[in-house]
Symmetry: C2
């Protein structure tokens, strides 16, 4: 039901400033979109969705806003091979499982107590600033 999403949108309130970033109208709407539709959309997906509310927004602005949000640690940018980047408002440390059959991306968390640095043989002196764990595969009925 297409209209349902529009009707539901219980206006998530977004502050004027997050992590030092001024939340302009465009950034608000883009962030709201990500919070509401947590299916790891591409910049173009976000562009199409947000046009309902900001008909004049440009794709360049979507890219600018997404980048600003990423730079300020408000959202995460996720890459799968050489596909378009996807964006994700889940800031907890997690990886991604890409179901090759449906294309759906599932967040994958680490089991409690697991620290990635503990299971890897890092080069001596390595200071980790960012981690990305990506899994590709199929989801079968269980």
């Amino acid at each position: 039901m297409v209209s349902k999403n529009l009707e539901i949108s219980e206006e998530i309130e977004i502050p004027e400033v997050i992590s030092g970033l001024r939340m302009t109208r465009q950034r608000q709407e883009i962030y709201r979109t990500l919070m509401q539709q947590r299916n790891h959309p591409t910049a173009n997906d976000v562009f199409m969705r947000v046009k309902d509310r900001l008909p004049n927004i440009s794709l360049a602005t979507v890219y600018n806003c997404l980048e600003a949000l990423v730079q300020h640690g408000i959202i995460r940018q996720v890459n799968f091979d050489r596909e378009s980047s996807r964006y994700c408002p889940n800031l907890s440390e997690h990886g991604h499982f890409h179901d090759a059959t449906t294309g759906v991306i599932h967040d994958v968390s680490f089991k409690p107590g697991i620290n990635l640095a503990d299971v890897l043989d890092l080069p001596p002196g390595a200071i980790i600033e960012g981690v990305e764990v990506t899994l590709r595969g199929k989801l079968v009925a269980i």
Copy 2:
């Protein structure tokens, strides 16, 4: 010393067929390049290196060959964010640590006995077909 590499190249012998892929001259030279220079070159890096021996090779052919080698599981394609793909002949399961200061990429292996599936909360029914672990950071003197 630029000429040294050329002189050293102790002609690694490459079989006519690997994993069912006919090793044409171009594929041989590209594979040899990867085996000799294990610094995760891009397609363009490979192109420039391999031109010494195959002056007529085209970049498109380098891409074709790299793709054929990847498809046949002879090499791995490694992606960092949205940068150019890099290629790697190390087939053992491993991740990559990208030193932001120098740009150098280090292979990172799992500690013995570690199975990535054991430390992740995978969605039920997930069958893993490929894994990528990428770390970004700095290397400090110890």
